[in-house]
């Protein structure tokens, strides 16, 4: 609001712009941009044929399939359950609601290695959940399903936290109007509420997907890490690096980086869509 009121290139009386921006650019350049540039430059030094051979090797293809497939599945699970969690947190009252609300951020705060060993111990064949699941013939740990479980954990807060504020701001009059015009409750939800939260759902999906694609710590314990079967792309990069195949690691990292950039761009567009929608319906 305050930003929109400012002219585009306002001359400010506040001091310290040069110093603050200069330090920001210097620090960010040294810590983030130059090292990232090293990855791109190193990538161009890899022989073209070797580059292509590395990123299309059967082991790499299997890793892409698992990384993308499991990340998509986990993000989809989080859209469904994240929307329900956000709905319950905004609309209903229940005991310990504040604690539950705070706990949703746990995957942001808990170190991924801790999450990894905790989930593995739960879903291992001897674990609290693994034993009954194994009896049902559904092994989870050391299978692709285990990867989905870990990625669902790390992506859990994204959908909840993007949908929650939209539901909170939703004008109650919209629903009352729909109801007074004779809409059934489920019609109101499908035709009025769902379109409102759709951009937020899509943003949350993309954020959870982006996070899951690069995830390492929570996955490597539960995945079992069998080549061609349960090996994710970030782990393959680490393996290449441990074999002193820096070129191969760089090539795979560039593929991942390209995927991340596409997702980052998509997320930006989705967020713009989301804010436009909210602005159109807001005051």
């Amino acid at each position: 609001m305050a930003i929109a009121a400012l002219p585009l290139r306002k001359r400010s009386v506040l001091p310290g712009f040069g110093l603050a921006l200069g330090f920001t650019l210097l620090y960010f350049g040294l810590v983030v941009l130059i090292p990232l540039a090293a990855l791109v430059v190193r990538g161009t030094q890899v022989d073209g044929a070797a580059f292509l051979a590395t990123i299309t090797a059967p082991r790499a293809l299997a890793a892409y399939r698992l990384s993308f497939g499991a990340a998509l599945a986990a993000a989809a699970i989080n859209v469904v359950f994240g929307a329900i969690v956000a709905w319950s947190l905004v609309r209903y009252r229940f005991p310990l609601k504040k604690v539950v609300d705070a706990l949703v951020d746990l995957p942001f705060a808990l170190p991924t290695a801790v999450a990894g060993i905790a989930l593995t111990s739960l879903y291992a064949p001897t674990g609290w959940l693994g034993r009954p699941l194994a009896a049902l013939g559904v092994p989870v740990a050391y299978t692709p399903l285990g990867v989905v479980v870990a990625l669902t954990f790390v992506g859990l807060p994204f959908v909840v936290r993007t949908v929650q504020p939209v539901l909170e701001d939703l004008d109650a009059e919209l629903e009352e109007a729909a109801a007074s015009l004779g809409a059934q409750r489920w019609q109101t939800i499908r035709r009025v509420i769902l379109p409102e939260i759709l951009p937020a759902l899509a943003t949350g999906f993309a954020l959870a997907l982006a996070r899951a694609l690069g995830e390492y710590g929570s996955v490597i314990f539960i995945a079992g890490n069998m080549p061609l079967k349960t090996e994710i792309v970030p782990l393959l990069i680490v393996i290449k690096l441990e074999q002193f195949d820096t070129g191969g690691a760089t090539a795979l990292a560039l593929v991942m980086l390209a995927a991340s950039f596409v997702l980052l761009l998509t997320i930006n567009l989705l967020q713009r869509w989301s804010t436009r929608r909210r602005a159109a319906f807001g005051d």
């Binding site: 921006l21 109101t188 991942m256």
Partner: protein, 299 residues
């Protein structure tokens, strides 16, 4: 953030509320999902940590390797935290209080460390400082070790955590506008005075939470640190790497004992977030009711 729903939830009318079986179902699904993915893993950490009794738990924490891992983790956080706080304040000051060309690009770029895999965050430092990296020959000639040594761990952690403080402060400072600072300047304050007595009191809770979050991520980082550390026991093992080593050696109770420390840190971080949100809400209410209220009354 969570105040609005109470008014809605308190007055459910028939037309705009779900029938009770639906409500019960949605609440049940919420409870089951969060219980399965959040509560059970938390319980598992502490249950496994104490599996062999309190004595074994304590022994795992005072083990020399564990103590050196705690030391290295605290050292890393102690270096990373001040640097990223200064960066966060500087970046937020430039972005939130001024209009300039390329601002939205900078705002997008700041998120880059979140967008790349932690493994890549470690790899890029190997490419710069490693034996085959840009600076590798120079560093080797001068006997400086960065990769497989503490400086590499610090650098990788800096990369991973650098947006955190800035991301907390930018929206906060944008919402506060520039009027108060301008007023301070008009009244004759110098730049430093204005920052210390107007800006800092306004952003202190956001800054505190950003710092807590940055600290938690710095202490808990795993992927990036794992790539650059070399896993040398007693020398380049952080807490998370120590957890991994113990776990891979089937020393489960020990791994979970160390992990429980990191879990407590995560819970403290979540608590800090609640506290900060509560304080900012209260500060917001105070500012609404009393326009003359001084933001630096306590100072």
């Amino acid at each position: 953030m969570t105040t609005a729903p109470l008014t809605v939830a308190a007055r459910p009318s028939r037309a705009t509320a779900e029938p009770w079986p639906v409500r019960a179902l949605l609440l049940g699904v919420t409870g089951a999902f969060l219980g399965l993915f959040l509560v059970l893993p938390l319980a598992a950490v502490f249950a496994q940590a104490l599996e062999n009794g309190v004595g074994a738990y304590w022994a795992a924490l005072v083990d020399p390797d564990a103590r050196s891992a705690i030391g290295l983790t605290m050292l890393t956080a102690a270096i990373v935290l001040p640097l990223n706080v200064v960066f966060g304040v500087a970046a937020a000051w430039a972005i939130a209080k001024f209009e300039f060309r390329g601002k939205s690009l900078l705002l997008t770029l700041i998120d880059l460390p979140f967008a790349v895999s932690p493994v890549i965050s470690g790899l890029i430092y190997v490419l710069v400082f490693g034996a085959q990296g840009w600076l590798g020959p120079y560093l080797a000639a001068h006997g400086i070790k960065v990769i497989f040594a503490v400086p590499g761990i610090v650098l990788a952690t800096l990369f991973v955590t650098c947006p955190l403080v800035a991301r907390e402060l930018i929206p906060l400072m944008q919402s506060q506008g520039t009027e108060e600072e301008e007023a301070a300047l008009v009244l004759g304050a110098r730049g430093g005075q204005m920052f210390r007595r107007v800006t800092l009191p306004n952003i202190k809770w956001g800054l505190l939470y950003g710092a807590v979050l940055c600290n938690a991520r710095a202490m808990g980082e795993f992927g990036a640190v794992s790539v650059v550390s070399g896993h040398i026991r007693g020398l380049t093992n952080t807490l998370t790497l120590h957890v991994e080593i113990l776990y891979n050696e089937y020393s489960f109770a020990g791994a979970f004992a160390v992990a429980s420390l990191l879990t407590l840190l995560a819970l403290v971080t979540l608590g800090a977030k609640q506290l900060v949100e509560w304080r900012t809400r209260r500060a917001g209410c105070a500012a609404d009711t009393g326009p003359g209220a001084s933001p630096e009354g306590a100072a």
